[in-house]
Symmetry: C2
Subunit: 334 residues, 2 copies
């Protein structure tokens, strides 16, 4: 991606978001919302499938890898389908292809990307260009904007009143993010030091937090640290994965604030009994009482992402392996 | 589970399957089929979400962990929903709870279980009791029966003609399974020996084979061998996970016969270039030309399961760690 590309300004982003929401609201009817992307962007989408599935009364939601989505070639992808796509650079071929496929079927396509001039943006009907990196507005990053869009879809199609609360919650992030980073700095540093020679670190979560655990496993650990990992769904833990638990097997387990909290808590209770290397991050410490309780469950994952990034930064520092290093990506054709 | 419980006889199973199919056919309309279970049974369900999603024209399909399903409490679960559940012993509390939840919403519930007197069977409207273990009919195991049910749903609701081909294909399994086991015996033994000191083995697949890769990772490796693992979706591989690939990192990669074969092939091409420990199992060697090409893609995963079990048996043998050993499961309350 272009390292010194200018941000799309917040006013333009707000206009793009409004245009996408209005286009979806003006559709005669929608039967389904598909959220599709690859890797880290796929992980970004996961919490919103949860949010839609728990709140929608008139349409279905599915989250799916973009290559798999196009390959499936489902006849259900039609003009009553909204397809939301995401690619940071906007150059991911599978996601661009998914946009073309969806559009050829008459589905309404909305792309989230850093680069509004990218192939994905070109291939999609609507584009929301989010901010990223140093100096960004925390209220205008991918997850905050997708949250506001899906809350808007719910309000417009199913009569909920979630979008204003979502906007209000995300507007707090510019103050909240530095505070939460400061709050976790020492803990992250301690964990990074203690974990610096671990060849494998599992992550675990469920519900709207599974995407954060998945992202940490595949992007931060596998991709950016070459540390082995797997994201274990907390509801699957006792049905196989828990047998690898041992005193010296490291886990990062998330406990969020959504309907699956008891599922996450049960897995953590066991984990803490049999592993001495369990890092548990509990969203009850995030101080989110000001956030509308209907939005708080899904909003929580954005805070998890901020906190987890601090842990990844600390790990990278103590391992002397910058998060920016790759051995294959950007270095060769594949 | 009861070790010496008698099988439900094939005639009874056929009647149960017909009754479940007829009950679904007689519903006024169906909007969605939800496939829900935990762990290995969740994995059993995954290929059928793929099969339904690629073939259904009038309803949606979702596969989801049972604890997550109940927690979500979606208002879309109603009398136009068919919920298919699976638990081997029928005692999985989360799956039984999912059946109760679905039924309380008016959804039609069909349980697949070995034990027709189990809590899951009691909680569900319809039960199909499959066979398992020594002496079973390969045509009456969980995946063959679920395949036939979902093919029947597609035929009855969407006018396809898949069920007869599914039945015909599954009927070949009693001859095919021993032949395929014999065919892979030497290769499995060689791999088991070579892999006996590996602390971690990744699996990889996509589409209708992802469930087989997931099952091998969480049940055979993590649960039954205490070997670290993760099932990597082939379409996600290049978007993070591939950075852990190295000459000494072992993978089992599946290449199937469904629409995602090119996605799996692309990942394998890279993998084989950079890992000396890549085991690739290609379904083109399974000799499935007699199977209807519309059913062949999903049928393939049943053969993968048989082949993978041979590899797991060989690994267990060379590691001196029987597949039946557990350190937590069956040994304590959790």
């Amino acid at each position: 991606m272009p390292a010194n590309a200018a941000f799309t300004d917040s006013t333009t982003i707000e206009k793009q978001l409004t245009a996408a929401r209005e286009a979806i609201a003006s559709l005669k009817g929608i039967s389904r919302v598909v959220l599709t992307a690859c890797g880290g962007s796929h992980a970004v989408m996961m919490p919103f499938e949860y949010f839609l599935d728990t709140n929608a009364s008139s349409f279905e939601a599915k989250v799916i890898n973009a290559a798999e989505f196009t390959s499936r070639n489902s006849s259900r992808i039609d003009e009553s389908t909204v397809v939301i796509l995401c690619s940071h650079s906007g150059t991911t071929p599978e996601t661009t292809e998914a946009a073309r496929f969806a559009r050829s079927r008459g589905a309404l396509t909305v792309a989230f990307t850093f680069d509004p001039a990218s192939p994905l943006a070109e291939a999609s009907e609507h584009v929301v260009a989010y901010q990223h990196g140093e100096g960004k507005s925390e209220a205008h990053i991918a997850p905050t904007l997708i949250l506001r869009l899906v809350a808007g879809i719910l309000d417009d199609r199913d009569g909920t009143t979630l979008a204003d609360s979502a906007t209000k919650a995300t507007a707090t992030l510019n103050d909240r993010a530095p505070a939460i980073r400061a709050d976790y700095a020492d803990r992250a540093n301690h964990w990074g030091f203690e974990s610096r020679r671990e060849p494998l670190i599992y992550t675990m979560a469920s519900g709207s937090n599974y995407g954060s655990a998945y992202s940490f496993a595949i992007c931060l650990l596998q991709e950016m640290q070459w540390v082995h990992s797997a994201a274990i769904h907390s509801g699957e833990y006792f049905h196989g994965p828990f047998e690898v638990t041992d005193f010296d097997v490291p886990f990062i387990a998330l406990i969020g604030l959504d309907e699956t909290r008891p599922v996450e808590q049960r897995a953590v209770d066991f984990l803490q009994k049999y592993s001495k290397r369990a890092l548990v991050i509990d969203a009850q410490e995030f101080g989110l009482s000001d956030v509308d309780e209907r939005v708080r469950p899904v909003f929580t994952h954005i805070i998890f992402n901020i906190v987890l990034r601090a842990y990844a930064d600390a790990l990278a520092d103590h391992r002397g392996h910058p998060l920016s290093v790759r051995r294959y990506m950007w270095r060769m054709e594949y």
